[in-house]
Symmetry: C3
Amino acid sequence: MRLVDLAKTLGTEIFVPGGRAVPDLEITGVAPLDAAGAQELSFLTNPRYAAKLAESKAAAVILASPREDFPRPQLLSKNAYATMAKASSLFYVRSHTFKGLSDLAVVHPTAKVDPTATVYPCAFVDAHAVIGPKAIIYPHTFIGERVEIGAGTVVFASVTVMAECKIGRDCLIHAGSVIGGDGFGFAPTRDGIEKIPQVGAVVIGDDCEIGPLNTIDRGAFTDTVIGRGCKFDSQVHIAHGVVMGEYGMIAGGGAIAGSTRIGKRLIMAGHTAVGPSLELGDNITLGPKGGLTRSTDVPGEYMGMPAVPASEWRRQVVALAQLPLLLKKVSALQRQVDALSGALAAPSTAKDAE
Amino acid sequence: MRLVDLAKTLGTEIFVPGGRAVPDLEITGVAPLDAAGAQELSFLTNPRYAAKLAESKAAAVILASPREDFPRPQLLSKNAYATMAKASSLFYVRSHTFKGLSDLAVVHPTAKVDPTATVYPCAFVDAHAVIGPKAIIYPHTFIGERVEIGAGTVVFASVTVMAECKIGRDCLIHAGSVIGGDGFGFAPTRDGIEKIPQVGAVVIGDDCEIGPLNTIDRGAFTDTVIGRGCKFDSQVHIAHGVVMGEYGMIAGGGAIAGSTRIGKRLIMAGHTAVGPSLELGDNITLGPKGGLTRSTDVPGEYMGMPAVPASEWRRQVVALAQLPLLLKKVSALQRQVDALSGALAAPSTAKDAE
Amino acid sequence: MRLVDLAKTLGTEIFVPGGRAVPDLEITGVAPLDAAGAQELSFLTNPRYAAKLAESKAAAVILASPREDFPRPQLLSKNAYATMAKASSLFYVRSHTFKGLSDLAVVHPTAKVDPTATVYPCAFVDAHAVIGPKAIIYPHTFIGERVEIGAGTVVFASVTVMAECKIGRDCLIHAGSVIGGDGFGFAPTRDGIEKIPQVGAVVIGDDCEIGPLNTIDRGAFTDTVIGRGCKFDSQVHIAHGVVMGEYGMIAGGGAIAGSTRIGKRLIMAGHTAVGPSLELGDNITLGPKGGLTRSTDVPGEYMGMPAVPASEWRRQVVALAQLPLLLKKVSALQRQVDALSGALAAPSTAKDAE
């Protein structure tokens, strides 16, 4: 792709240091500063790596603002990170080696597979399932009864989608994930444990990405709902009946407990958890390993277990490091005060004792 | 099912407000207060939702004690939650679209599949495995050498049960779980790391439920044992050689480290962990994200990392929030005391300075 | 195997209490002290179990130093744990019931499967994949395009290895793991979230063990690299672009965030996490549930979240337990000091009041 066309597609201005004209360049891909070749576009999204600019061989670079230490064309973008993502996407085509409906797949006669969809060998598609146009179903997948897979969605190997669940358009469901397993609903009794049947389903919106080995459980009585554009990393767990707003992002090992309702643009860092039956507003961020145990509609970052506003948590962490010394200080102070008290109560006696 | 028959089956008394007669109603299902239709049974198990009683269209409702704000029949149960679970189970039948032994399954000639069992297409059953009566084996499952699957047990899609493991009767093994993978047994040496072969197996009791994407590792020398009636949520991990008593419940992401022995009715909340080689008594509960690092036979709830009795943990959390201020207070106090000391040492000078 | 040959293979000296001759014994296996039969070798690796020595029926025992309370031959080893591992390995042969290339496997015509390799029924091997000599590929595996599986490596059931990834020689990849899923790379924008294509691969060294249900994500621009001899427990997660040195060990649920570079012999306990974009030196150990958020090249054990040197963390834990009482003490002290101040400000009044 020619550099000028690339800049146009990305919606970026081109700056060339020294006021030179924009060269007529063919760009063949995107790479980090130290790996980019003479026909590749690079990017500076983390100021930590600015020193690499001068040495980079890249043909051009995406930057937030023009810099003199890179002598070739610069694509200027306020959100350089997103522009890099978009640029990289333009050059990336995922390879699928199979096309069409394999006769080595097991497809129930009542299932409806769109003629433009792909079903790999070793896939299992159960009764009344619907596979939308251009959807791709990889080997060893289980597409349960009455499941609906939206147009353009890719379901990678060994994914299980249990009965009745619906997945939107243009989603990626990564390998090994289980959508619609039974929620964890049990009532302990005197004699044992009674299971609560999980009769709800899972409904996943359009443009979602479900990472490898996620578990998104079906609801007990109502559906578990994942809003449009949500992106989950590996090993994320969403419990029964959770309703999650659009564009949420959950990093590796994050979990949301049952029946919690969440607004838009939730961000959860790695190993985080959100407690059961909470109500969260929009734009809540939970920092690494945090555990959110209370409902809140105050946007911002939370940290710790139980989670508190991040600034408060940081103060606590700093204070905790001083605590062992504080204990000693207070003991010393107590002794000092006791001595003072003694001196004041009986100053003459105290003086005599000296 | 007629309401009177339902009440009889559930072992509940029927109360009708205003002393009216029990109507002859046909009940078709169970649903939450705000979703139940005029032929459905509902329930109030969380007092938070009591306000929904008056507006509910439900034909009848399960309650812990009679209430005047619901004008129709009330099924009274001290454990309303368990009664709701039981009622819901009565109306729920899990659908399995396939029956019998599929000729698209791969079953070793030495395996024994009961004639009443179901083995779906794409299942793999290895040498000398035994599939009990009415057991159901879903697609993409791996049932290893000499594995035994008990009567009535359902093994969902993509489950792996490694050689020699035994699963009891009427269990549910949810999709993607791995039973009997190698335990994490390694001995570091000067030159590298020596693997300890994991020659024990996994033995799971009757009526257990293993959630989606669980890992239950085989023991190094002895078996890993899961007691009767245990219920595990998604992504639970049980390490090698754990012996767990009956009716334990572990929520999402909970993990028990190697060789730990646990009594009955353990409850672990989400993201919890129990340390290696511990001995735990009956009725231990570990709160969210807690890490239990010491043996205990004192029943009750534990929290934190390292876990302490929950009441103690709560006091620590409250105290920690006050710590940043405490540090300032102690500094101020120190200055105050130093001033006092100075004043007392030379009272006349102090007075002069005033 | 004869005892003398076993000792020779293990490189251990044989000590017989009472100066008796080494008996000519045939050893049939290795077992713990309380389970070993009269022809089995046992071991004492944890002093906690020393009391079991006297009662053990074992033919011989591996010990760190000679003991008089076990009357039969003793194999002396400074690293008794590693010697036990090695001994146990000598008697252990993993059973694989199938051999050769199954015609029930789906193998792309361009894939190269070594004639000495095994591919079970229901395996899927994609275009241009290479399966090395004596490698074993279990059922329901997905071996992606251009993937390379090294000689002697075993890939257990339902493992997914995505396109371009390379696994070394003599590795064990346990059931359900996903190697080479997309890394979690997204750039939020005003309108939604832009995906960063993950074009790197995963490269795993020789002699690695990847536990059940691991996720090892491919890199965004560069490869994710796992060094020789690394051993991972169940449910471990390695994010995109991580580079990990040799002989690292990660227990259940451990996770390393994106782009972190790690030295040799990292040890991570259960439920631990290492933050993104860090640089860690050799011989770092992270204790249970710890979260490492800063780069360090200081070897040793770290604990807590955020992690600090373990000794510091232990002091903090002890101090925190005293904090609720400290708050009360400081309040009392403040009152005492205020009273003293009052007394000192008006000494005569104070004296009058007494």
